[in-house]
């Protein structure tokens, strides 16, 4: 359970959960340019910066993005295919690789579905009711974001480890949490908890409780109200939260690394296996798995953009 790798940071960068720092920041000036008459070149448009400065700013932004975002991504794929396609697929069909992919999917399925339920309940409670300790609960939801993932993992070692709080009891009953699937799932759930709740709280607060009240006064039961009124209203926000939650669950390194125990073919998730293979100089295999994570990131990015557009539309519609 050590973090000796210097690669760790570069693989975890591939996760796509970063907030809205989008590329389109650089686009608006070009639209304005079209409106300007070319004949009046001597009269500079005072509403904006001079052309050379604009050019410089855009170029700087693009250069920065290329070096820090595009280049690493290209390197991942280039290295993965450096010995050809057959070596790439051979690396992916190794039993260890298959087991890591399987485990990652299992962990993602468990943590996403549980966080979906917890997240909806938490967001519902916070946005539709007033109760004592509400602010505290909102702060608590953000805790996993502000704590280092390694600490999140360590918490579970302290709780369920051999010397931990429940350690003796667990050993006596032959229950394995640490260095097994339950431990990895717990750590992942902890780290990914805020995503669904965070996506839903502002949305549900904005929508208020009037539609629910209308449904109830029309004779709908609690469940009917939830499935026919509340859920359809939050579906895009919910999908958005689930998407980001899934990306993080599959890509989580720190917390999982602490609780996994790195048992080959058993408790290695994809990010963990990437590190192990890299340290063993199996670059093609390492980058082949890294490329899967990178593809997940790209897909997440595309779907995220689509969902954000949907969410914006939803807000315009609701804005009366």
């Amino acid at each position: 359970m050590s973090l000796q790798s210097n690669l760790a940071s570069s693989t975890t960068q591939l996760r796509a959960y970063a907030p809205k720092t989008d590329l389109n920041v650089a686009s608006p000036p070009s639209q304005r340019e079209r409106v300007r008459p070319h004949t009046a070149a001597s009269k500079r448009d005072l509403r904006t910066e001079p052309r050379p400065i604009r050019f410089l700013i855009v170029a700087l932004a693009l250069l920065f993005l290329t070096v820090f975002v595009v280049l690493p991504l290209v390197v991942v794929f280039a290295s993965a295919f450096s010995r050809g396609i057959s070596a790439y697929f051979a690396a992916l069909s190794e039993p260890e690789a298959l087991s890591a992919i399987q485990l990652t999917l299992l962990i993602a399925a468990i943590s996403v579905s549980l966080n979906l339920i917890f997240g909806v309940i938490a967001a519902w409670a916070i946005s539709k009711f007033d109760f004592a300790g509400k602010t505290f609960l909102i702060t608590l939801i953000d805790l996993p974001f502000s704590v280092s993932p390694v600490i999140s993992g360590l918490v579970f070692v302290l709780l369920f480890g051999a010397q931990g709080f429940f350690g003796t009891w667990l050993q006596a009953h032959n229950i394995h949490i640490l260095f097994a699937v339950p431990g990895i799932a717990l750590a992942t759930i902890f780290v990914t908890f805020p995503f669904v709740a965070r996506a839903l709280i502002p949305l549900m607060q904005e929508q208020g409780t009037q539609e629910e009240e209308a449904a109830i006064s029309l004779g709908a039961s609690g469940l009917q109200t939830f499935f026919r009124v509340t859920l359809p209203n939050i579906k895009w926000g919910l999908l958005y939260g689930v998407l980001l939650c899934n990306a993080r669950a599959m890509g989580e390194f720190g917390a999982v690394s602490v609780v996994s125990g790195h048992i080959r073919g058993q408790t290695n998730t994809m990010p963990l296996l990437v590190e192990i293979l890299y340290n063993e100089y199996q670059f093609v295999a390492s980058f082949a798995i890294a490329s899967l994570l990178a593809m997940l990131a790209l897909i997440t990015l595309v779907v995220k953009t689509i969902l954000e557009r949907r969410l914006d539309e939803g807000q315009i519609v609701s804005d009366d």
């Binding site: 009240e213 449904a215 029309l218 004779g219 026919r228």
Partner: protein, 349 residues
Amino acid sequence: MTIEVKNIVKKFGDFAALDTVSLKVGDGELLALLGPSGSGKTTLLRIIAGLDWPEAGEVTIDGEDALGRGASERHVGFVFQHYALFRHMTVFENVAFGLRVQPRAIRKDEKAIRARVKELLDLVQLDWLSDRYPSQLSGGQRQRIALARALAIEPRILLLDEPFGALDAKVRKELRQWLRSLHQEIHVTSIFVTHDQEEALEVANRVVVMDKGRIEQIGTPGEVYDNPATAFVHGFIGESIVLPVDVSDGAVRLGGRPLNVAANGAAPGASKLFVRRHDMQIGPAGSGSLEGAVRHVRSFGPIQRAEVALADSEGKTVIEIDAPRDRELQAGEIISLEPRRYRIFAAHE
């Protein structure tokens, strides 16, 4: 269906939103709850609907205890101020909602639901909008759809919370008349909340005037306008001139000078004299007990509205009066005023 509310108390923290309120609504009535914001009128409506619960008191609908039932079991149609239409459903599905969520045993089949929704959309004259979404409708259309949706469940009573509050003045006027004729047609016992006195007087059979969680007066529009029970009602309904007067030995004095009005048994001490704008008799200077200089005249329709600075107050007290146009007033003219009809209330009210 009748509604009876007895001794309702509702508090939000230390604030008493409703302070022992009792009210009876007769079968087929169209009742207005009228008051300024914060008077508790919406809270009372929500308690009757089951969307809020009182700390104490009773609510019975048609003799049946209502507080023992949740909002979904009360069979009450509720129309929200901001419509609260389901934004992801078409107009048709919005109206059909109440029919679709009924327990399977009594739920109508699809054909009957379609027929019923069609009938309701015809009633609110919007059947041509059935495939639109709420965001594609105007405010007035949304409110009529909200009403059709509430009527779909054949409610025992209909409750409307500031139904025209979010609409512009012209649409509001049209909808008022429309609501009144709709009520005559379907005759369901209805209560609507409003802060607009004109709306209450024009639409309702009876008006309940509320202030600070209490009922100030219940009466027909004519009663509350002509015989306001309290200073608040007089000031809130219709435009009033309010003068600080002193009552002693059966005489009413303004700034030490006796006025030509009878105390009518008003308690001695500092009081307020309430006069409607159009109840001031205008005469030539020196002919009445009140005198003032006309500062400004605006004429529109059958009346002229004049700002008059009262002489005794060194021009500090300025009142607005409405006079018929048969005697044109001029700015700068000195006139005398005599209250024709008036009420005196103790000053602390």
